[in-house]
């Protein structure tokens, strides 16, 4: 029964679950009930479980203790006789012995233990003196608040409070500062906002804000009255637009294409009716302000008025309904007249977006965090709202800006400004090194050869030169002036060509002949090859291409200037082989193209799978890769034979008495690791590594962070040894080097 008890306790405590398994618990209780001996045995078992450095084990053990505590007097006496240790292990009253990880479970254990101690104290405190002492100890010395669910210790609570206080102070300070800042800045913000608002108004009055338009409508009406009646529908349309959409284009009323097109239905309506109704409509607008429905304004007039009204206006009925849709998606185009405004508005917007809005937002954040709930916060929120409205408005404006070249504009502006002051500056077209055409007489000045092979005869020039020149031309001619450019080299080569390679010149001298003589196919072939040839970047080797004696590789020694003393013989020029080589050679890596490996090793592995490695030729584990079928058996018969042979040899190498089965049995019986698991290869090893209690949280697993892994590598004994050795070696070397100097000899 003792055996069973131990098993039960172990199973229950290693389940890793928050609740005890009721079946096993019942059995445990039954056993404990049978005699006091069992209870004391259970007590010892549980205490050892409580001593485990794993919060889950402790938690489960504590739960069992709680169950038994309420049931058995004997158990109570035992627990209370060692109550200090019990509290240390469950509540964690000792600073040097904190509760083990995982942290959440430890918290849970702590909470449960405190609650249990309280319950026990209420129930048994009188009878068991030490229990009440422990309870008072927790309450008064450890300041455990039994009401506090989170069961924090006094120190934790105080620390938290202090932190909170400090934070509060910081926030308050920040909020004060922000308040001051706000007081300073709000004026500026308000100014910017007003500026922006005014700009908006100038650009495009609010379509619903008629008070703005009121004053301006009269002259509009005049114009429409004057022009609209005789005019075609289109003209009426033009005339109308300004009245709705303000005076963006007041100066050029006919330029309707600059305006966005008013939605189509309105146009049609107008086209059909407006020419007649215009005046009335405008009147309507003045009257009611609602332009969506004609009828809405009507009932104010009486019947007579209707009649006269209808008649006066030549209408058939007064029941017209006129729907006007005013498109709100406005688009403002920039033109000469509103450039300044738009510039202004954009600047203001930028200011708003980049500076004011973030600042105001940060203020609000600060105020809310500091818990300030007065005018300052309200003010900040107001500001933010205003800013946001302004931003929204700006977005709605959809200002399309002309592609502007700031520099040019500035230049022109400057030119405009300066016009009256300094006229002696003659505007010249900009010159930036590139001149598309160089007159012939100037070519020499530019360092270019005279245009001997012009484009027209180029057709007949040698095939050798043509592609070259065509390759070089697209690059700016000014490149040739730059000695680091390929073009310059090319020029050099071209200059030298005649004297350097007489056969070549002869060939090029008779271009027509060559072209004629060579068969077409050959030419084509040559061209093909050329196309195939890689274009190499310019390098030193090309720089010295064809030079017989490049001077760069030579080292010039200065002969001694001394009057009497002179070195025996000085070779004034020493040729450095390496440098000369370097100047004449070029390394071209020819790696070829990467082809991913498609095959797998597929050798059978002890765990039954196939090797998944994709090596090109040889698998590091299974040797040369050979074709295999699905089950990993080699296709070629000799391969198969070889593999079988190897298998056989391997088995033979193992002595008979080390039969893995037998070994395992022996190990189980004696409890000594004889290494059967190692012998068995990887499969066995894995089995040996299996976790003892799979249900518990693996503490080591949690410690397996990148840091710990690195630590394992870096602080590895072997690695440390290696590093020490290397450092010693360095020291040693230094020592050897300077050993003959007394200064270094001693260290």
């Amino acid at each position: 029964m003792d055996q069973r008890l131990a098993e039960l306790v172990e199973e229950l405590t290693t389940s890793g679950e928050a609740q005890l398994e009721p079946g096993r618990m019942r059995e445990l209780k039954k056993i404990c009930k049978s005699s006091d001996e069992h209870i004391s045995y259970a007590y010892h078992l549980l205490m050892t479980r409580l001593n485990e450095e794993h919060a889950e084990i402790r938690f489960s053990a504590f739960q069992i203790v709680h169950e038994l505590f309420t049931r058995s007097h004997q158990f109570r006496t035992l627990i209370i006789s060692n109550f200090q240790e019990f509290l240390e292990l469950t509540v964690g009253i000792d600073h040097e012995q904190p509760l083990p990880p995982p942290k959440e479970v430890a918290q849970k254990l702590r909470r449960a233990a405190i609650k249990a101690v309280q319950d026990w104290h209420e129930k048994y405190g009188e009878a068991y003196k030490k229990l009440s002492l422990g309870y008072h100890f927790l309450k008064q010395n450890k300041k455990v608040d039994f009401q506090d669910v989170s069961a924090r210790t006094l120190a934790e609570r105080r620390r938290e409070e202090e932190k909170q206080k400090r934070l509060d102070n910081i926030y308050k300070e920040k909020a004060e500062r922000a308040g001051k800042e706000m007081a300073e800045m709000s004026q500026e913000i308000a100014d910017t906002l007003t500026e922006m608002e005014n700009c908006f108004r100038l650009l495009m009055p609010d379509p619903f804000d008629f008070t703005v338009n009121d004053t301006e409508l009269e002259p509009n009406k005049q114009t429409t009255a004057n022009e609209g009646k005789p005019a075609s529908p289109s003209s009426s349309q033009i005339a109308l637009h300004p009245s709705y959409f303000g005076h963006v284009d007041d100066e050029q009323p006919c330029c309707s294409k600059d305006l966005l097109s008013v939605s189509q239905c309105v146009k049609i309506d107008r086209n059909e009716e407006l020419s007649e109704e215009q005046e009335k409509l405008e009147q309507k607008e003045l009257d009611g302000g609602t332009h969506s429905e004609l009828g809405s304004g009507v009932p104010a007039l009486n019947d007579d008025d209707y009649q006269t009204f209808v008649r006066n206006h030549g209408l058939i009925s007064h029941k017209y309904t006129l729907d006007l849709e005013i498109s709100t998606d406005i688009k403002v185009h920039e033109n000469e007249d509103n450039t300044a405004i738009i510039n202004n508005i954009m600047d203001a917007h930028r200011l708003l977006r980049n500076k004011f809005l973030p600042t105001v937002q940060s203020w609000i954040q600060l105020f809310t965090r500091a818990g300030i709930n007065d005018d300052r916060l309200r003010c900040a929120i107001d500001l933010k709202n205003k800013l946001e409205i302004a931003m929204k408005k700006y977005k709605e404006m959809n200002i399309s800006i002309k592609e502007r070249k700031r520099k040019v504009m500035k230049a022109s502006d400057a030119a405009d400004d300066d016009d009256d002051e300094d006229d002696e500056f003659v505007e010249v077209p900009e010159k930036e090194g590139y001149e598309p055409h160089i007159p012939d007489h100037l070519r020499k000045e530019y360092g270019l050869e005279p245009p001997s092979p012009p484009s027209a005869p180029a057709r007949e020039t040698s095939i050798g030169l043509a592609p070259l020149s065509s390759w070089a031309r697209p690059k700016g001619n000014e490149d040739e002036l730059d000695p680091t450019c390929a073009a310059a080299t090319l020029k050099l080569i071209r200059d030298k060509l005649p004297k350097l390679s007489p056969p070549y010149t002869s060939k090029s001298a008779t271009p027509e002949q060559a072209a004629l003589e060579e068969p077409d196919s050959k030419i084509r072939k040559l061209e093909e090859e050329r196309a195939k040839a890689p274009i190499m970047p310019f390098g030193l080797d090309l720089h010295y291409w064809g030079q017989d004696e490049p001077s760069a590789g030579k080292i010039l020694k200065v002969s001694s200037q001394h009057r009497f003393w002179a070195p025996s013989e000085v070779e004034e020029e020493v040729e450095n082989k390496e440098v000369t080589e370097m100047l004449k050679t070029r390394y071209i890596t020819f790696a070829g193209k990467f082809e991913p490996v498609k095959h797998k090793c597929r050798a059978p592995m002890p765990n039954g799978g196939l090797c998944e490695r994709q090596d090109r030729i040889k698998c590091p584990f299974h040797g040369k890769i050979i074709p295999r079928d699905e089950s990993g058996i080699p296709l070629n018969s000799e391969d198969r034979a070889r593999e079988e042979k190897m298998q056989f040899e391997k088995q033979a190498a193992q002595p008979e008495w080390r039969d893995p089965e037998f070994m395992r049995e022996v190990e189980a019986a004696t409890g000594v690791d004889l290494g059967s698991s190692k012998n068995n290869g990887k499969g066995g090893k894995k089995k040996g590594k299996k976790k003892k209690y799979p249900n518990l949280t693996d503490l080591k697993q949690q410690a397996n962070t990148s840091r710990s892994r690195l630590e394992k590598k870096v602080f590895n004994k072997g690695a440390m040894k290696r590093v020490v050795k290397a450092m010693n070696r360095v020291d040693q070397r230094k020592h050897e080097k300077f050993a003959n100097q007394f200064n270094y000899a001693l260290n």
């Binding site: 019942r26 009930k33 048994y124 068991y128 003196k129 002492l133």
Partner: protein
């Protein structure tokens, strides 16, 4: 017991014998009794306790917050359950309270009308018990670790004071001045104790590992310095010469008859010395855990056959027999380090004060009434307290 009484009645035994046997039995059965409680007054660690030797009724306690409390230990309620009441206290609000931790309190040995207390605030105060006012205050240059007044002195009224300075000061109550300085220690003096046998003999223990015996009439130095090796090794190594312990010596206590001296040090050892010859008796007590930085107050029983020492041992109290060095039992009950304990000789009770602010009373367990038969016993036990009952659920499945 009955045999002892019979023998006593017949005059066969020495009269003290029955007494000694019973006292020993009671000491051996000391336990934490739920019937006896000491009122919870202190809000911080309790450094020192003292029971007045006249009646054995009043107990003083000194806390590390400077509070001194006076308890009445006697139970006049005629009930087994009793909480020792605090009669009065020198609380934090008292105008003359010690500003820092009270290290030692001691009753005036001949009368309860006066007691003394010394503290880390560098003072030693003489209190009038009835008015609870300090009658005299001595100021020192260093913090006071310990003081002691001779329990047997009739010719002098000296208080020996161990302070942070290596000099032991003797304060004369008659003149109200520091009359003597005993020089010899090299570090602070952690414990002082007068011999209960010779009124001029004083033992002092210091952090330099030495215990010195003085005759205060002699001006020229100490009588002896106790040597743990009894002079055998001291010739070879001058460094370890004449040390009683290898660490600080922070506890000192004479046996009741004054023939032996018990010292305890931070080398986790306890040593018993012959106080007349200064010889180490080489009793092995094993490891006596001692991590205290200050003085440690332990107690020795009185009137038992083998005498017992009650020594704070971490959060427990170890009970040793003095002469054989045997560890009898560990008294577990405190939840933090025990600082002091004091033995009440009349009723064989032990009081202990600890850092967990508790004063625990260890009372001899009552002799269980010998029951007539088994059933009655179980019945009585059941009736004793419902909390002792087992609460297994009756149903078989539930368990």
């Amino acid at each position: 017991m009955l045999g002892f009484i019979a023998a006593r009645q017949a005059g066969l035994d020495d009269p003290a014998r029955l007494r000694r046997a019973e006292a020993t039995r009671r000491v051996l059965s000391l336990e934490l009794n739920k019937d006896r409680d000491v009122e919870r007054i202190h809000g911080s660690a309790i450094n020192t306790l003292d029971i007045e030797p006249v009646e054995g009724r009043y107990m003083l306690s000194g806390g590390s917050d400077g509070v001194i409390v006076l308890y009445d230990l006697e139970n006049f309620s005629r009930k087994p359950c009793y909480t020792c009441k605090a009669i009065c206290s020198v609380g934090r609000s008292h105008p003359d309270v010690h500003r820092f931790s009270v290290e030692t309190v001691q009753w005036y040995p001949h009368d309860t009308g006066m007691f003394t207390s010394s503290s880390f605030d560098k003072t030693l105060k003489i209190w009038d018990t009835n008015t609870l006012q300090p009658a005299e205050v001595f100021h020192f240059e260093g913090t006071v670790y310990s003081h002691h007044m001779s329990p047997v002195a009739t010719k002098h009224c000296l208080i020996a004071v161990g302070t942070k300075s290596p000099k032991v000061q003797l304060c004369d109550l008659k003149s109200g001045s520091c009359s003597h300085i005993l020089q010899g220690h090299r570090q602070e003096v952690l414990a002082v104790s007068w011999s209960p046998r010779h009124e001029y003999i004083l033992a002092t223990a210091s952090a330099d590992g030495r215990v010195k015996l003085w005759d205060v009439r002699r001006a020229s130095g100490c009588l002896t310095t106790l040597d743990q090796h009894n002079g055998e090794k001291s010739k070879a190594s001058s460094e370890a010469a004449n040390t009683a312990h290898n660490g600080r010596v922070n506890g000192l206590c004479y046996t009741n008859d004054g023939l032996h001296l018990l010292t305890i040090g931070t080398d986790d050892r306890m040593r018993l010395w012959n106080s007349s010859t200064g010889e180490n008796t080489l009793v092995n007590y094993g490891k006596v855990c001692n991590e205290s930085r200050k003085g440690l107050k332990f107690a020795i029983s009185c009137g038992c056959n083998p005498e017992f020492a009650f020594v704070p041992y971490g959060s427990t109290i170890a009970v040793y027999t003095i002469f054989s060095g045997e560890l009898i039992t560990m008294l577990r009950g405190h939840y933090n380090t025990v600082d002091c304990c004091v033995f009440q000789p009349n009723f064989q009770e032990l009081y202990s004060g600890s850092k967990d602010c508790n004063i625990l009373a260890w009372i001899p367990a009552l002799r269980e009434p010998i029951p007539d038969d088994i059933s009655e016993k179980s019945l009585s036990q059941q009736h004793l307290n419902p909390a002792y009952e087992d609460a297994w659920s009756s149903s078989e499945d539930e368990g």
